[in-house]
Amino acid sequence: MKKRSFTVLEVMTAILIFLIGIGVIAGMYVNLVKHYLISQNIQIALGNVKLALEKIWREMKYGINFSTTTNGLIYQRITDCKKVTISYEPTSKSILYILDNNTSTLIDPEYFEVNNFSVYATGSLANSGDYNITSFKLITISLGGIARAKSIDVPVNLQISVAPINSVFASTTCGF
């Protein structure tokens, strides 16, 4: 039997099919890796917000002398009696943490852009009684924003509520 070699046309067709196949597979793989990286970025962004909210929650749980402001709230830390201001900056879409006069960014807009921030406080008693009447019994912080990951933005709404322990004490070490 006579063995003939491949013609140029056959080789070209084979290479073309191979390249199309490789192109499709490579495209799928690149897409997959892209989504994987985006998911990871979102995870990092959410992790940062989670840490920030947990920090606020912990401090507020043991905090005293709460008051609300236009863009946030003020309280005193029980550990060192220092004044803390949590403030929303609508221009930079970030949340600031101001301890006495030192300002730091609590939620960085590079990772999580805060579009809505509200503080809801309730349970402050007007009548005098056995318990601390100056503190709120419940403080709720709600924030809505966008977790940033390259071209994909994931909208997220988060909310924490705190019933401060010291809201029912008559006095504390900070003199309240």
């Binding site: 979102i42 989670k50 929650w57 008693l125 419940l138 709600s142």
Partner: protein, 166 residues
């Protein structure tokens, strides 16, 4: 070298240089496909887990909120010299307005977003989250269970509250 030896050597070379059969190519393609599909499934699952993680973070905060809402209500009851469990039921929904609605089924306690806040007040912005609080009481102690359900998952937190202020 004889003519016969040369012929058999050439036949051997031809055997070595033979091309793959269709079965061999098929098996090779199958192995490659399995490996590639496994990779896609693996990464896809990971992406799904990361997406669920977002909802889980929200659910955890909502479950913790449920417990703090009960504590706040208990504190207000104490401050107003009411019974410490005044207004509570065994199973109920409660939101940041501290309005309590009796319910035994978590599906009756869906959470909506009203003015950027999670509440039970129906609004056009519904969420996948529902929250039910259960209270098991004895004389001066109560166990609070806050359960948040989303899609097919549940987050449950539990704490103990007392008749006295800790």
């Amino acid at each position: 070298m004889s003519m016969q030896q040369l012929q058999s050597q050439q036949q051997g070379r031809l055997l070595l240089n033979r091309s793959q059969t269709i079965v061999e190519i098929f098996i090779a393609l199958m192995i490659f496909s399995i490996a590639f599909i496994s990779l896609i499934v693996l990464v896809n699952n990971y992406i799904k887990i990361l997406k669920t993680a977002k909802d889980r973070i929200i659910a955890n905060f909502l479950a913790q909120e449920g417990i703090d809402l009960v504590i706040a209500k208990r504190n207000i009851n104490k401050a107003q010299k009411l019974n410490w469990l005044d207004g509570f039921y065994n199973n109920f929904c409660i939101d940041i307005n501290l309005n309590i609605i009796q319910s035994n089924d978590i599906s009756n306690c869906p959470l909506y977003i009203n003015n950027n806040q999670f509440t039970h007040t129906p609004s056009s912005t519904s969420t996948t989250f529902s929250r039910l609080i259960s209270l098991t009481t004895s004389t001066h102690i109560a166990t609070v269970t806050s359960m948040v359900q989303f899609e097919d998952q549940t987050v449950e937190l539990q704490t103990i509250i007392t008749d006295w202020i800790p």
